[in-house]
Symmetry: C2
């Protein structure tokens, strides 16, 4: 079951295990530092489909199959799937997951979706509502550009604070029993709005939310950065990560070298032209599923905090003069073992 | 806690209570049969704001305040808010709820959102993850037309199968302790796609999902339509309700006069030009919060099934030739009393 501690944190007394996980990426992601860790990389980012949106749905579908295979499970073993994505009316998730016939809980949390889905998955399993569930999300560079900015054909210039939306998908199978990294604690975040209106500076829009959620977690649990091997935000990129450090420093919290960010890990800054780093729901989802979880399972790290961050805006809200609120959800993960 | 029964249903052993609820509507909704039941009706559907989208956000914000007032609670008493809406990147919810500072779980379930949010709220409370949470959603005729069809200025004609998106919002406060109707069982549905591609016939797209979820619930619980005073779908409207009856009849399940639909209840078919009935997330949310819950609280009905239905599509998915999958989530509610 679970215990509520402090303002916003849940402690799962029987921590669910992540018994299967997979990540699929595009060409650019395959050429980055984590390229070899992906379960599959597609040089053709259409994934053989006729539209970018169908490509992203296809990526979700294929990633579910990979994760289930690795867990030795089939779709009928899964009680719920929690998924969402960046697109209007989350069509990547709807059409990617339609044919599985699994009860479906659609989410929208922008790039915080992997932590949002994992948090809800953990609550579902720890409460006895389900034995095995799926948490997942995806993004695609070309669908996100069309959705939020300009069609690729327009050839818009990107300022230095802009991030690169990852073509990637991550899927985690969370279960009451089995072997794998465990979900110990969850902190669902609140919206924080510092008035940022620059859609080419998502890191600045999201950093205050990451700071707020981390601060809440440390206060709720009486812990500090030194209690963890790694604190991984995503996707703040270089600009947002710098701001996060500054914001927490003001509160007397020093993340130091324990902190890194999925938007920093996914690409090689020197060789790949991604400006302020990676972004998109799929960035933190894939980094979690192809890098963080395998390392936890192998016991390289014992305790990590995974803090996925989202920027809550749309072209319509920006056009109407609204600023961009951020949100961040936190998952405390520990090394593998029998659950 | 909770027990999983059958394929998809959760039985909540300590059923949470809905201790507060409110509904706000627009001019047309105020002129309908339930007009007098709304907590507030605005003759000016801009709600005093400069854009339709800001108006919908304002409606969410105001409805939260009304529901909390009626429950004798303040925002700081609420542990989580579960909300979503029809707009791209759910901006009505994001901007309507931003200033409350409550941990926020964003959803996208199209017009199934009220049952989706209520189901997650019930799981959160019954599992001990939270003591008091908010479940809510909204829709606005003018924002939905702009999102899914044409701007109002275009003056597009509506065929007879088209439904009218309600300008309405419903908000429910779900708590572990207190007085009010109780959430006994929850069935989260799966996507069902019969290949409907007509965006002006949402009832046909959603009816198969409603049938699937109701059938799962009856099988899981060993119950039938006669065990309930009322089975309320939403928003199938006239066309979808007719199809639902036909689909279930084939399975030997007769809903008969126990069945009605939020899209039928909200407007007067003879006097208000809504074609096949009402729709929009706010339709079922408002009918629940201004009509069903008060009648349950008063003991007029003892047992009802609330089955909110959603059509999972976007202008982009339709433009790319995708059909429209439906989804339906079910909430079993019982008459009020101390929880």
């Amino acid at each position: 079951m679970m215990t509520r501690i402090g303002r916003a944190t849940l402690r799962l007394e029987n921590p669910p295990a992540i018994v299967g996980y997979a990540a699929i990426g595009g060409k650019k992601e395959g050429e980055g530092p984590l390229g070899g860790a992906f379960d599959q990389v597609h040089a053709d980012t259409t994934f053989g489909e006729t539209t970018w949106e169908k490509a992203e749905s296809r990526m979700q579908k294929d990633t579910v199959h990979k994760a289930l295979d690795k867990a030795g499970l089939s779709p009928s073993d899964i009680h719920y799937v929690f998924s969402g994505d960046l697109l209007s009316q989350i069509i990547s998730s709807n059409f990617g997951l339609r044919e599985f016939g699994i009860p479906y809980v659609g989410l929208y949390g922008a790039c915080s979706t992997m932590a949002e889905s994992l948090g809800l998955a953990a609550v579902a399993v720890a409460s006895g509502a389900a034995e095995r569930v799926i948490a997942m999300t995806s993004s695609h560079f070309a669908t996100a550009e069309r959705q939020f900015r300009f069609p690729l054909e327009y050839g818009g210039q990107r300022p230095p604070t802009a991030q690169w939306t990852a073509t990637a998908c991550g899927c985690a199978v969370v279960a009451a029993e089995g072997r794998g990294p465990r979900i110990r604690q969850v902190t669902f975040g609140r919206m924080i709005d510092y008035g940022v209106t620059d859609q080419n500076n998502m890191g600045a829009a999201m950093a205050p939310a990451a700071a707020d959620t981390l601060q809440a977690f440390f206060e709720d649990t009486g812990s500090g950065p030194r209690d963890f091997d790694l604190i991984v935000t995503g996707d703040l990129g270089y600009v947002g990560s710098h701001l996060l450090g500054k914001l927490l420093e003001r509160e007397g919290i020093l993340l130091e070298e324990r902190h890194t960010d999925c938007g920093i890990l996914l690409y090689d800054r020197a060789k790949q032209d991604v400006h302020a780093g990676g972004s998109g729901c799929g960035c933190s989802a894939a980094v979690l599923c192809c890098y963080l979880l395998p390392q936890l399972a192998a016991g390289k790290w014992r305790e990590i905090l995974f803090v996925a961050t989202g920027a809550l805006h749309s072209p319509v809200s920006l056009g109407q003069g609204q600023s961009i609120p951020g949100i961040a959800h936190l998952i405390h993960l520990t090394a593998g073992g029998e659950a």
